[in-house]
C-alpha cells in the first residue's frame, strides 16, 4: 500500500498534527480501509512495545551511586554506608576463599614433600584425641565417686 496519506498516520497517532492536516487525514480515514488498518496496527504496536518488560537490573541505581562515589570521591554518610555494606558482601567471601586456598596449598606442598609426615600427623592427632578422651573420662563426676557406692 502506498497511500499518499500514509505518512500522516504516524503524525496523527503521535499527536503532531493540527489544523487542516488533521482534518484531512480524519476525513480520509473514513473512506480508506487500508489506512484505517494501518492506524490500528500502529496503535497496537505502541501498546505492545510499552508492555515489554525489562530484565531486572543486578545493582540498579545503587551500582551507579557506588561507581560515582568511587570515581569522583563524591560521598555523604549515606553513600558511605551503601559502599561499606556492598564492600562487606564482596570482601567476606573473597577473604574466606583466599584463606582456604592458602591453607590448602600449604598442606598439599608439605604432604607432597614428605609423605611420612602424613602418617605422623595422623598418629599425633590420634594420640592427642585419645589423651583428651581419657582426661575427660577421668575428670567426669562418675569417675570421682568412691568404689561400691
Amino acid at each position: 500500500m502506498n497511500c499518499p496519506f500514509e505518512l500522516l498516520i504516524s503524525r496523527l497517532i503521535d499527536g503532531e498534527l493540527t489544523g487542516s492536516d488533521r482534518e484531512a487525514i480524519v476525513d480520509h480515514l473514513v473512506r480508506c480501509a487500508c489506512c484505517r488498518e494501518l492506524l490500528e496496527q500502529f496503535q497496537a504496536l505502541r501498546d505492545w512495545v510499552k508492555g515489554v518488560p525489562l530484565p531486572p537490573p543486578e545493582t540498579g541505581p545503587e551500582g551507579a551511586l557506588l561507581r560515582l562515589a568511587q570515581a569522583t570521591g563524591l560521598s555523604d554518610g549515606r553513600l558511605k554506608r551503601i559502599w561499606l555494606t556492598m564492600e562487606k558482601w564482596i570482601r567476606r567471601p573473597v577473604n574466606a576463599f583466599r584463606m582456604a586456598l592458602t591453607a590448602g596449598v600449604i598442606v598439599t606442598v608439605v604432604l607432597s614433600l614428605e609423605p611420612r609426615l602424613c602418617d605422623r600427623a595422623t598418629q599425633y592427632l590420634h594420640r592427642g584425641f585419645t589423651r583428651f578422651l581419657s582426661h575427660v573420662v577421668a575428670e567426669s563426676p562418675a569417675a570421682r565417686l568412691p568404689n561400691g557406692s
Partner: protein, 176 residues
C-alpha cells in the same frame, strides 16, 4: 524537587542532590541502553558510565537543550562507544550478522511468545530507526525533542518513525 534546582545543587557538589538525580534518571538510562544493546550487563554498565559522564560534564551544561535530551544524547553515545569497543575486540560480528539475516528468513512467529517476538523485532530494526522509535514510544518524546536529542531535522524524525513502524509491522505480521 524541581529539576533546575536539583541541577544547581548537583553543580555545587551536593551528594544528596546527586543521589536524587541518579535515582530519578537511572531507569531511563537503563531502559534505553537495554533496548539498544540487548544485554542487561551492558545496559547497566552504560547507564553507570553515562551518569558518570553527566557528573563530569554538568559544569559545561548550559541548559540550551533540556536536561533529558542532553542526558539521552550521552546515553546514546555511550551505547555506540560500547558497541564499537566490543566490535573491535570480537571478530565474530560479521558471522553474527549473517546468522541474524538467516534467522530473519526462517524465524516463524506463529506460537511465539509475544514479548519475545517484539524484542526480536526491535533488535532487528536498524539502530537509527530503533532509537527514534523508542524515544517516541517508550519515553514519549515529541518530534522536536527527538530531533534535538539525535541532532536531526524534524522531517527525518517523521520519516524514521514511519519506516520503523512499517518494518515492525512487517516483522510482526504473524501477530497482527
Amino acid at each position: 524537587m524541581d529539576e533546575t534546582l536539583l541541577l544547581e545543587r548537583c553543580r555545587k557538589g551536593d551528594a544528596k542532590a546527586w543521589e536524587e538525580l541518579v535515582r530519578r534518571y537511572w531507569g531511563f538510562c537503563y531502559r534505553l541502553s537495554y533496548h539498544l544493546l540487548q544485554s542487561r550487563e551492558d545496559a547497566e554498565d552504560v547507564a553507570q558510565e553515562a551518569l558518570l559522564q553527566v557528573y563530569r560534564a554538568l559544569p559545561n551544561f548550559r541548559g540550551d537543550s533540556s536536561f533529558r535530551t542532553w542526558l539521552y544524547r550521552i546515553v546514546i553515545n555511550c551505547c555506540h562507544a560500547k558497541r564499537r569497543k566490543e566490535q573491535a575486540t570480537t571478530e565474530a560480528t560479521e558471522e553474527q550478522e549473517e546468522g541474524r539475516s538467516a534467522n530473519e528468513e526462517t524465524f516463524g512467529l506463529e506460537g511465539a511468545d509475544k514479548v519475545y517476538a517484539i524484542r526480536w523485532a526491535l533488535a532487528r530494526l536498524p539502530d537509527d530507526l530503533r532509537v527514534t522509535f523508542l524515544l517516541r514510544e517508550v519515553d514519549g518524546f515529541t518530534y522536536g525533542e527527538i530531533a534535538e536529542t539525535l541532532g536531526i531535522p524534524i522531517g527525518t524524525v517523521e520519516s524514521r518513525l514511519h519506516r520503523a513502524r512499517k518494518q515492525l509491522r512487517e516483522m510482526l505480521r504473524g501477530l497482527m
